[in-house]
């Protein structure tokens, strides 16, 4: 199955990962409300790839990223980093692992200490993890890193504070601070969504350049399906804390099997003059609250397929498991049949 295809090693493995939060408010019945932010996710991230985690707000993609990095402690399930269970690492090993796994934040301003210059921002990770370097070695490494991310002239920008830099420059600095320790896994949480469109390409290209020669793996979190299609190798689609579909980027966008994926792709605004499919599935209503996840398939309350096919009872009773629908392509929907193209699934009785 998947093992044959894997010439690449798996760097991160999630098994039935769950992150739940208690909410103070009580339901009418007196039961305590629980937010099921990540509700049983299993996936593998392969070394050197860019895996995109896509979904709308509240789907758990950011929580998943932070749970993998152990910033948020998972309530249950396991995360394996290079085969080792993260929960079993002792303090020293955890500290070492920390330097190998980094997070790039969405907000280029809020993620930087306003009282630190660019130089100090880059020096910090070195002072914590690279105590073997002396002052001169640190200085050289920082200057090289500034140049590598395009913040030139390095000696001038090194003395600047965040409020003296543009959004794009700050994000470059954020990226520099993340890669200066030469991590092998980086979670990028919406790294370009707060930047102007014309600036995004430069930042994305920088992120990809960082991969070359460094064997870097990205988990790219985004709500923007067309952006992730462009940059990612594989895309994972999330809804209300669970994985709906995962596969090769082209396959997900052009040959999605899950009705949610299809709906998301169909509403992508396309520039006039580019081809557009006729079927536009604008889902009605809103994503249910994470405290009140629908029974059975959690998407069935808004599923256009479910309604088109006369609301079959299985969708409200049974949660569909992730099944293979193509090579390296899995979806969790009762309507899918392995090997059968989606169009024929639609026409099936």
């Amino acid at each position: 199955m998947q093992q044959d295809k894997e010439s690449k090693k798996t760097i991160i493995e999630c098994r039935d990962l769950e992150v739940r939060f208690d909410v103070r408010k009580k339901q009418k019945g007196g039961k305590k409300m629980v937010v099921r932010a990540v509700d049983g996710v299993s996936l593998d991230i392969r070394e050197g790839e860019i895996l995109a985690a896509v979904g709308e707000s509240g789907c758990g993609k950011t929580t998943l990223g932070k749970a993998i990095l152990n910033i948020i402690k998972p309530t249950s399930g396991t995360v394996l980093y290079r085969g080792r269970n993260m929960a079993e690492l002792d303090k020293k090993e955890m500290q070492k692992t920390r330097s190998k796994m980094q997070l790039i934040y969405q907000d280029p301003y809020e993620s930087l200490d306003p009282g630190q210059t660019a130089y100090k921002t880059l020096e910090e990770p070195l002072l914590i993890h690279r105590k073997d370097l002396n002052t001169k070695e640190r200085h050289d490494l920082i200057m090289k890193q500034l140049e590598a991310v395009g913040l030139v002239p390095a000696d001038i920008i090194a003395e600047r504070y965040p409020h003296q830099m543009s959004g794009g420059q700050r994000q470059r600095l954020s990226i520099a601070a993340s890669v200066i320790l030469k991590p092998d896994f980086v979670v990028a949480d919406e790294p370009v969504s707060m930047l102007d469109v014309s600036v995004r390409a430069g930042i994305l290209k920088l992120m990809m350049d960082m991969q070359e020669g460094n064997a870097l793996t990205y988990l790219f979190i985004s709500h923007d399906l067309s952006l992730t299609w462009m940059i990612a190798d594989r895309i994972a689609v999330f809804y209300l804390g669970k994985l709906m579909e995962i596969g090769d980027a082209q396959a997900i966008v052009h040959n999605g099997y899950h009705p949610y994926t299809r709906a998301l792709v169909s509403v992508i605004p396309a520039m006039a003059g580019t081809k557009k499919p006729e079927d536009r599935h604008v889902l009605t209503g809103e994503t249910p609250a994470a405290t009140d996840v629908p029974k059975g398939c959690r998407f069935h309350t808004r599923c256009w397929m479910h309604m088109e096919k006369g609301c079959p009872p299985i969708c409200s009773e049974c949660e569909p498991a992730l099944r293979e629908v193509g090579e390296g392509h899995m979806a969790a929907c009762h309507f899918n049949r392995e090997g059968l193209p989606f169009e024929e699934v639609l026409n099936e009785e």
Binding site: L69, I71, Q95, R98, S99, Q102, L103, Y105, D107, E110, S111, L112, D113, P114, G115, Q116, E124, P125, I128, H129, Y161
Partner: protein
């Protein structure tokens, strides 16, 4: 971080700040240079009753007090005392308040709860009974006054610092650096504290104003140091010696104006500093 020079020039540019700085300059000159140029000896009392409570003259620019001492020199010396007490008390208040505020705001555990309860206790201590008790046991001196003011004013600083620390703690960059593997110590002193510092500066200046006023009040009530005569003590003696009834305005008005000037100076500068460090308060 803005360097000191630009903060001073910003204070100077603002009307309120400029007024405050000028008033403070006057007081500091009085306090520092005054007694050097015009030394005052509180033990040099009058020889005869004709020298008591004399109106201003060429010899005594602001007349004499109830003990025949030169009011002008007394005023200059008093500036030093008032300022000294105010600054020392503030030092205690700020140091204790900042440490308590920082630690209780940063840690979420039982430490924070204990520190907050201690703060509440000190907040509840009444100033007057405390100083009366301490004065009765140790005698009246400026050090008692400094202690009392310091011990009863640090809670409000702690509260202010704590609430700022609580909000900074939630900022994204703190989370990021924490996940880099930074220790609590590093986070507190390299990242949280420097970003609370501007607030502390502004608060300090206002606390100085409050401390000086507190000292003046306590001294006026007769609880100050009888030897190190501050402006408040001057007013106390003016009052008890019946200077008011005798119309000895030169004994009453100068120290009163002095207190007004110094408190106003620190308050104006403090408010202006507050606006500079907290952009949200700026009057557009």
């Amino acid at each position: 971080m803005k360097n000191k020079n630009s903060v001073l020039s910003q204070l100077w540019k603002d009307h309120m700040g400029k007024a405050g700085l000028i008033l403070l300059a006057i007081v500091f000159v009085m306090a520092i240079l005054g007694p050097m140029v015009f030394p005052f000896d509180s033990s040099q009392t009058a020889q005869s009753s004709s020298e008591i409570l004399n109106a201003p003259s060429v010899e005594h620019w602001l007349g004499t007090d109830d003990m025949g001492r030169d009011v002008f020199r007394s005023l200059l010396f008093g500036a030093r005392i008032s300022l000294f007490v105010g600054l020392m008390a503030t030092l205690i208040s700020i140091i204790v308040g900042t440490i308590v505020g920082l630690v209780s705001g940063y840690y979420r555990s039982i430490i924070s709860v204990i520190l907050m309860r201690i703060t509440d206790v000190f907040l509840a201590i009444p100033v007057l009974p405390l100083i009366i008790v301490l004065a009765a046991v140790f005698g009246q001196s400026i050090f008692i006054t400094i202690m009392v003011i310091g011990l009863t004013s640090w809670p409000s600083t702690a509260r202010i610092v704590r609430s700022q620390v609580l909000s900074i703690r939630e900022r994204m960059y703190i989370e990021r650096i924490k996940n880099l593997g930074a220790s609590d110590f590093r986070l507190m002193f390299r990242h949280v504290f420097p970003n609370v510092l501007p607030l502390i500066y502004a608060n300090t200046v206002l606390v100085i104003a409050g401390s000086i006023l507190s000292e003046a009040t306590l001294a006026f009530l007769g609880l100050g140091d009888p030897v190190n005569v501050s402006w408040g003590t001057m007013l106390h003696y003016a009052f008890v010696s019946g200077a008011m009834g005798r119309g000895a305005w030169w004994y009453i008005i100068p120290p009163g104006v002095g207190i007004l000037v110094i408190v106003l100076g620190f308050t104006l500068a403090g408010h202006c500093l507050d606006e500079i460090t907290n952009p949200k308060l700026r009057r557009v």
